[in-house]
């Protein structure tokens, strides 16, 4: 070995790798912190909400965005103060995979008699759409990706109708498993993460099906 030969640095590119690593790690960690906050850092959702008495379900929460809607409908007023059953308006939930948004005819069924367009500005918007034959364009709040097949009907069957052991008093308790307590929000807000981990926890706790193709069709 010649003593004149210059000494090579063992890993000449290590600085670049470390710099990239630091930047990458901060992005990942920052993202995680951000998501952590949305998951429930300062969630308005309390654990004291309605829940199915004997069911074990994930308690993860999610602090969703405030999504603007064409009509400032209030779940707090209708489902909370007035105590209307969730399934009165979301009547499709027990018959179909989607819960559906109630047709305008259902809204007007009450609002031609109570809290009419003359009294409330938001009802005036609704009545104007009804008269002109337009449907409100609601912005979706709770949504799962297209590759996930979720059926409201099946879940209501399991927890609400076919379920004497758990002593369910109100459909709200069942809905709250995935939607949080809707009486705490005005129009709608995403209050549960609805991720695969969230679904799986509940499926494991309540003997739900575990095969991939049950949800991913």
């Amino acid at each position: 070995m010649s003593p004149d030969r210059p000494k090579r640095r063992p890993f000449p590119w290590i600085r670049t790798v470390m710099a990239v690593g630091v930047v990458g790690a901060s992005i990942v960690l920052g993202g995680q912190l951000l998501e952590q906050e949305r998951r429930g850092g300062e969630s308005p959702v309390t654990e004291a909400g309605p829940r199915v008495p004997n069911a074990q379900f994930p308690t993860d929460t999610f602090n969703g965005k405030d999504v603007p809607q064409p009509i400032n409908y209030s779940h707090k007023l209708h489902a909370g103060d007035l105590g209307i059953n969730c399934l009165y308006c979301h009547t499709y939930a027990r018959r179909s995979k989607v819960a559906g948004i109630p047709p305008t005819s259902k809204c007007m069924g009450c609002h031609t008699v109570v809290a009419t367009a003359d009294e409330k500005p938001e009802i005036e918007k609704l009545a104007a759409m009804w008269e002109s034959g337009q449907s409100p364009a609601w912005n979706k709040v709770n949504d799962v990706p297209d590759f996930v097949h979720f059926s409201h009907e099946r879940h209501l069957q399991k927890f609400l109708f076919d379920n004497p052991d758990m002593n369910v008093k109100d459909s709200r308790e069942v809905c709250a498993m995935c939607h949080g307590d809707m009486v705490e929000v005005t129009v709608a807000k995403k209050m549960r993460p609805l991720t695969m981990g969230f679904c799986n926890t509940c499926h494991e706790n309540n003997n739900g099906p575990a095969d991939c193709t049950r949800c991913h069709k």
């Binding site: 063992p10 890993f11 290590i14 790798v17 690593g21 990458g24 790690a25 990942v28 960690l29 993202g31 995680q32 998501e35 949305r38 969703g64 965005k65 999504v67 603007p68 499709y92 018959r95 179909s96 995979k97 989607v98 559906g100 948004i101 109630p102 047709p103 305008t104 005819s105 009804w130 034959g133 337009q134 449907s135 409100p136 364009a137 609601w138 912005n139 979706k140 709040v141 949504d143 799962v144 990706p145 995403k190 993460p193 609805l194 991720t195 695969m196």
Partner: protein, 719 residues
């Protein structure tokens, strides 16, 4: 070891842990990205029917208009959108089945190239402007050029023509059964007899693609299913280039193009000489032709040997009752009917059809004779105004008819179309047509009429393009404008149709009307026809000689799929592998390997095919299922103006055909003599199943046909 120094071990530790951590953290992140909040919109219903539930489909009955067979369909509608079509199990025609062309009707409907607004020249106009333009310009008597049309649309078209001075209707279908119909009319006095494949124990087809495109393929396929059930019926197909039917046959025979009639008469000769079948049921002229058609003569004309003729005759004799069909030329069909008469199939597997009452609801068939007549009459200035709907004459007319020049002679050309195509390019006014899933109508399917069935077409959903109008509505408007009697009371075609059907079923009650819509059909009164013999019939077998040196006979073949080219703009059908070559999104020329070897051609070589009327360049596909004297190019491709999916894909073999017409039927010939010249290019034809060999891997166990026959005869001998 210094703490500042990074050695290999530490470096790998850091890299490993950091990488794993980043990967794990990264995995969790996109799950939120896909869960959108407030990104998509959802519309609630205004006041839905009680049975409408979001997420749950409702099925409505309607009729498929993808080909003239007029199968009944059930369409699944969810949230106001048609999502799926299936066959209507209540119909006698398709009995719950639907072919790929029918399934692809959804892509016709949702096609992004649909015409949304009326236009005059290149300028988009309102309906009022377009109609005013038509009224001002239409001086002489109008002519209608359509595909096969039936039901109340046909009645209104007649009303329009009669009220405006007695113009003519030209029904055009390139893929048709006119030769068969003429032959049936001439031999048994019924142009559309009812066929019972399911009752036959053997079937022989001379050039009729009974399972692919012939008359009512879905009905025939369902019947064929029963035919094949035990005891298994035997299918023999004689044709110049293999079709879907030929590929299904137990015995497939390649005949030189135009010589199927010779083979059929050769089989009749074998029946008479070997099995002593009487020819007394035949007209004298036909019986005489059979005895001149000796095996030697058949071989000379068709290249089919004596053994094959005897084998077909033997199959027919030992599997009775049989059914023989023929198409492609008048002689093929007459020779096939001669076999039916000899074998006593008339009245057994071929029974009389029925006439609908009123008769004007019946299907007005399409032919290429009408196409030739239209071109001729337009050239001579007899047509001043033409309404074109459901036909694309510029694309489908053989080059010899000079359709573009003919159209130029017509003063006013109005296209009522869903898509811009080669013909709308030459039209003065183009009106947007509603899709079959948005329109009302009635259709008398060619083989449903035997049972008096009329299929009802109802909209499955709202119009995608609000300005598009249904054909019935346009016809009604034009007829009213022309002053047709008795139509003033109707505001729209729905009102007209409802009144007409109420009269047909004898009640105007809502419940009865709903029953009709739910069934998707209405039972019309029909009178059974009866067969009459024709003693003076003769048959002239064409002199089909081997083509000259360097020449081949071009056959333009039709496929279930792109059909006559009308479905080339549907990606599902472009993507569905061709039934014979398994190729997708392309054109090719089928040529026998021995012919290719003689011409020095390899698989995938590009060749220029030249006829007296034109030339095209495409690549060849070596295939044993084509007669060595023939070159077969499927039609359907080669569009120049047919939307984003069809334009500039493949070649149109119809461009090579001349204006030769059949003396007996007036149909334009679908073959011609061509020269084939290699261009020097060679490219791979994209196919689903690339090779027809297993290279000894035994993926599918097979035995030779001879071995199978020996096994069968051993079994029969032992039993």
């Amino acid at each position: 070891m210094s703490s500042t120094k990074i050695d290999r071990r530490n470096f790998l530790k850091v890299l490993g842990l950091g990488g794993a951590g980043a990967a794990l953290a990264g995995c969790d992140m996109p799950s939120y990205a896909t869960l959108e909040e407030g990104e998509e919109q959802v519309f609630s219903y205004l006041a839905p029917e009680e049975y409408v539930i979001p997420g749950i489909g409702v099925w409505y009955a309607s009729t498929c208009l993808q080909c003239p067979a007029g199968c009944g369909v059930h369409g699944r509608v969810r949230e106001g959108r048609a999502l799926k079509l299936e066959g209507n199990p209540n119909t006698a025609v398709n009995r719950g089945k639907l072919c790929q062309m029918g399934q692809a009707a959804l892509q016709t409907h949702y096609n992004p190239d649909r015409i949304a607004k009326p236009r005059i020249g290149a300028k988009e106009v309102t309906w009022a402007q377009a109609l005013a333009f038509i009224k001002a310009k239409s001086t002489g008597t109008p002519a209608w050029l359509t595909g096969a049309i039936s039901g109340h649309q046909g009645v209104l078209m007649d009303a329009h023509l009669n009220a405006s001075g007695g113009g003519k209707h030209y029904g055009v279908e390139i893929v048709n059964a006119q030769a068969w119909r003429s032959a049936c009319a001439d031999t048994i006095g019924d142009a559309q007899p009812d066929l019972h494949i399911d009752k036959a124990r053997s079937m022989v087809s001379f050039g009729a693609d009974v399972l692919g495109t012939w008359i009512s393929p879905v009905k025939f396929m369902a019947d064929y299913g029963e035919f094949r059930a035990a005891p298994r019926g035997v299918l023999t197909v004689i044709e110049p280039a293999m079709t879907l039917s030929g590929a299904n046959a137990d015995h497939w025979v390649a005949a030189r193009p135009g010589s199927e009639a010779a083979v059929a008469l050769g089989v009749a000769n074998a029946l008479a000489t070997e099995y002593s079948v009487s020819t007394s049921a035949l007209p004298t002229g036909v019986a005489d032709a059979i005895f001149t058609m000796t095996p030697e003569r058949v071989r000379e004309l068709s290249g089919v040997d004596t053994r094959t003729l005897s084998r077909i005759a033997g199959t027919l004799m030992s599997n009775s009752p049989s059914l023989v069909i023929g198409d492609g030329s008048y002689e093929n069909a007459v020779a096939a009917m001669a076999l039916n008469l000899m074998l006593g199939n008339i009245g057994a597997t071929i029974t009389p059809g029925a006439d609908l009452v009123p008769a004007d609801l019946a299907m007005r068939d399409g032919s290429t004779k009408a196409l030739a007549n239209f071109a001729k009459n337009a050239q001579s200035g007899d047509i001043q105004a033409a309404f074109i709907s459901g036909a694309n004459p510029v694309f489908t007319a053989p080059d010899g008819l000079n359709m573009k020049d003919a159209l130029a002679k017509i003063e006013l050309k109005v296209a009522i179309a869903m898509f811009e195509d080669e013909t709308t390019q030459f039209c003065d006014v183009v009106l947007p047509l509603a899709s079959p899933l948005e329109d009302w109508g009635t259709h008398a399917p060619p083989l449903g009429a035997a049972r008096g069935e009329i299929h009802v077409q109802q909209p499955l959903m709202e119009k995608l393009h609000p300005e598009a109008l249904g054909l019935g509505d346009i016809l009604l408007g034009l007829a009213q404008d022309a002053g047709a009697a008795g139509l003033d009371d109707f505001e729209d075609y729905y009102g007209y149709l409802r009144t007409a059907i109420s009269a047909m079923i004898g009640t105007g009650q809502e419940a009865a009307w709903q029953d009709v819509l739910q069934a998707g059909k209405v039972q019309a009164p029909a009178t059974q026809r009866s067969f009459t013999a024709n003693g003076s019939l003769t048959i002239n077998v064409p002199e089909s000689k081997a083509p000259g040196k360097g020449e081949l006979i071009l056959i333009t073949t039709a496929r279930q799929g792109l059909y006559d080219g009308r479905h080339a703009n549907l990606p599902w059908l472009q993507e569905a592998p061709d039934q014979i070559s398994k190729a997708v999104w392309d054109s090719w020329a089928e040529i026998h390997p021995t012919t290719a070897a003689r011409l020095g051609l390899k698989d995938g070589d590009y060749v220029t095919i030249t006829s007296a009327d034109g030339a095209l360049t495409t690549r060849i596909f070596l295939y044993k299922g084509v007669h060595p004297d023939a070159i077969a190019v499927p039609m359907g491709q080669g569009h120049t103006h047919y939307g984003r999916y069809a334009s500039s894909v493949g070649v149109n073999p119809l461009n090579l055909l001349g204006a030769d017409t059949d003396a007996r039927t007036g149909e334009v010939s679908n073959t011609t003599t061509v020269h084939v010249q290699a261009t020097g290019d060679n490219r791979y034809l994209v196919r689903l199943m690339d090779i027809d060999r297993q290279y000894g891997r035994k993926l599918t166990a097979t035995i030779s046909a001879d071995q199978q026959r020996r096994n069968q005869s051993n079994k029969q001998g032992g039993a």
